[in-house]
């Protein structure tokens, strides 16, 4: 069965697969354009870093065969793989490492580039050895190197990043039909194990139902992320479909504006946490798919602790905390399915304790970013914070949460500089602090829901990295 929905070459002998996605990239340049869509498609598949994040959350080698860390934990010496070539033929050397990491500082336009501010110098020792020295020890450094920040660019391949990505990965961009699909073909000169598929089509659907129908009718082989979990019953037939459910880094946060009344009052925030029946919320808003969490740490992070018991569902307690007062607040949520669904449940549950939340869905991303994220004009909001290891966002007092706790900031800084053990301990404590302060409420951990045709293998169970890793994807006959 030639399953590829693109139709183009769908029946050729070489194997290909079509994978359905929700958000299409606006362009292919993740050095200057925000959003998860670009790294999702390109990172690991087209661009590779020196290291990558394994399915278990550990950092594993990629373009670097190995790396050594100096005793003061400030110097990283990366030994590069031989015979790695960029598409187009240029060899990958330490010069490219220097070029790529310097470019982050000089050319990248995203705020997250500050994560690599910790780098002091990047130098080439020889063609296959690059040395990075840090200003101070940092646990986050290597992790950042596994994200898009660590992607390796060719010195001759950055002329038109928006349209012509040049990387070292197993796949290379073949064509892009804007508004429809991106096709990646296997890179014939790939240094590692050749991927099982000769080509992959990423098809984009704005409508969840349309994506479901496409899988049902053979238009695509995989739904990368189910947007309408209630519809999973359609794929219940194990003779035809398989469902993969894993975790993500995405905490669906009920953000409360700590910076203004009424949520500048810790008691009110705590009341909200008690007022919400998280189990019922998950069942109604997202068909029970996903995991309950009690703070800003997903279970795949080493410093995870189960904090779901901190604020058990207790409307009476919530009312008590409110002291008989009632509030009317603005709940401005992005117009995304999980947010709008959750908002309606939250509204009903808060109503039970005397908080009237007026839902105002805002167009995502533009209006939500503008109104809530940038201007901070909201009382309650709901958004899935998908970035990995993003506990730190609460440390920034100017962030839209308006949460400002010096102690929390200190814990985070210490964690980054300390040993791995210290890091874990500090972050556990930080997460507990957030929970106790009720800096926000954590509704649930967004599930990684993949549906695929029977016979498709190599699906990533957990979506904890920025990319959708196609390297192992294959199809049995």
């Amino acid at each position: 069965d030639g399953g590829a929905g693109g139709g183009a070459g769908g029946s050729s002998k070489a194997q290909s697969l079509a994978v359905g996605f929700v958000a299409e990239p606006a362009n292919l340049d993740f050095t200057s354009t925000e959003g998860a869509a670009i790294p999702q498609a390109l990172l690991v598949n087209v661009y590779e870093g020196l290291v990558k994040l394994g399915q278990d959350g550990r950092i594993v080698p990629l373009l670097a065969e190995k790396w050594d860390v100096s005793a003061d934990r400030r110097t990283y010496t990366f030994t590069l793989r031989e015979n790695v070539k960029f598409t187009g033929g240029a060899p990958f050397t330490a010069d490219d490492v220097v070029f790529s990491l310097d470019r982050v500082r000089t050319d990248w336009k995203l705020k997250i580039k500050s994560q690599l501010d910790v780098i002091d110098t990047v130098t080439k020792k020889d063609d296959s050895t690059a040395v990075v020295t840090l200003k101070r020890p940092s646990n986050g450094f290597l992790y950042s190197m596994a994200t898009r920040l660590g992607a390796m660019f060719s010195r001759t391949g950055v002329a038109d990043l928006a349209n012509k990505p040049v990387g070292t990965g197993p796949y290379a961009l073949s064509s892009w039909r804007r508004g429809d699909s991106i096709q990646l073909d296997a890179n014939p000169s790939y240094w590692g194990t050749k991927p099982p598929l000769s080509s992959i089509t990423l098809k984009y659907f704005k409508d969840a139902t349309a994506m479901n129908n496409a899988l049902l009718t053979g238009g695509i082989d995989v739904i990368s992320s189910v947007q309408a979990p209630e519809s999973l019953q359609q794929f219940a037939d194990p003779g035809r479909f398989q469902t993969v459910e894993g975790t993500t880094n995405g905490e669906v946060v009920l953000s409360m504006n700590n910076g203004r009344p009424p949520f500048d009052d810790k008691k009110v925030r705590q009341a909200v946490r008690h007022a919400i029946d998280h189990k019922a919320l998950l069942d109604t808003a997202w068909a029970g798919r996903g995991q309950l969490i009690g703070s800003m740490v997903p279970p795949t992070d080493p410093w995870y602790e189960d904090r779901t018991g901190d604020y058990p569902y207790d409307p009476a307690k919530a009312k008590e905390l409110l002291g008989g007062k009632t509030y009317t607040v603005k709940m401005r949520v992005p117009n995304l399915p999980y947010a709008v669904n959750s908002a309606q449940v939250v509204k009903s549950q808060l109503a039970q304790v005397g908080i009237t939340a007026e839902i105002e869905p805002l167009e995502f991303p533009a209006r939500w970013l503008d109104q809530v994220f940038t201007k901070g004009d909201y009382d309650l909001s709901i958004i899935n914070h998908v970035e990995p290891r993003d506990l730190g966002i609460f440390a920034d007092g100017s962030y839209y949460f308006g949460y400002d706790n010096l102690e929390f900031g200190k814990l985070l800084a210490a964690a980054d500089e300390g040993t791995e053990q210290q890091q874990a301990d500090d972050l556990k404590q930080a997460a507990k602090l957030l929970s106790d302060d009720a800096a926000a409420d954590w509704l649930f951990l967004f599930p990684n829901l993949i549906v695929a045709k029977k016979g498709v293998t190599g699906l990533p169970e957990n979506a904890i990295a920025e990319s959708f890793d196609f390297t192992a994807l294959a199809k049995q006959q």
Binding site: A228, E230, S231, Q344, V345, A351, E363, R367
Partner: protein, 277 residues
Amino acid sequence: MRGRANAGLLVGGTLVGLVVLAALVSFFWTPHDPTFVDAARKLREPGGGYPLGADKFGRDTFSQLMVGARTTLYVGVVAVGIAALVGTPLGVVAGMTPRGWLSELIMRVNDLVFAFPALLLAVMLGAVYGPGTLTAMIAIGVATVPAFARVARAATLQVMVTDYILAARAAGRRRPGIAVRHVLPNIGSVLIVQASVSFAIAILAEAALSFLGFGTRPPVPSWGRMLQESQELLFSTPRLALWPGLAIALAVLGFNLLGDGLRDFLDPKLRRIRAER
């Protein structure tokens, strides 16, 4: 008023009456709070106080339909209201001075606005002011102005060449008096027909906008959004799509039949002046 009530008028009137009734009653009573989410009642089957069952949020479908009727009427009334209040005077003025520059200007602007269809305007307005029922209604209303202006103008032109207008002028009636006492009553039935047809179109447009996410925003119940939300359960719980779909179709059918019926009922002679879509 000549002509007998016909079957279309009867059926249309009944359907529209039902929508109005549901909307009115919903102000005072619905079986349940249509927006209250209750996990325990999720996808509850019809029966026992839930005549049409509950949706995935455990909200009572019947109550939502009732309140949705309100949204539907609200959309129609405001959109058609804007269109009629703006379009009719423009059309009458243009029709009463067919050769003047004012008339020319009105009709040119009219043609220009006509080039911005409702959906386009709604998307554009939605982009500026955020999507929502009011934005949608204004967009639909503005986009419907040209239809009213054209129909009003065509009908006014027909009225203006009659001898009774000459007679009124000979009797000493001035323009405003003629417009109010002779033109408006005589083009009234055409306008009523146009209004009911536009009403039906507005309902459809709102449904389409809700489907695209530019219409009524949650949690306010709207038939269009109910339909959109029920999509993912179309296979397992088709009734969730059935009821709002049926409600939209019947309401639109009702207004269309009412329009056709009124056309025949109010004045058989005016059949020739057709309402525009």
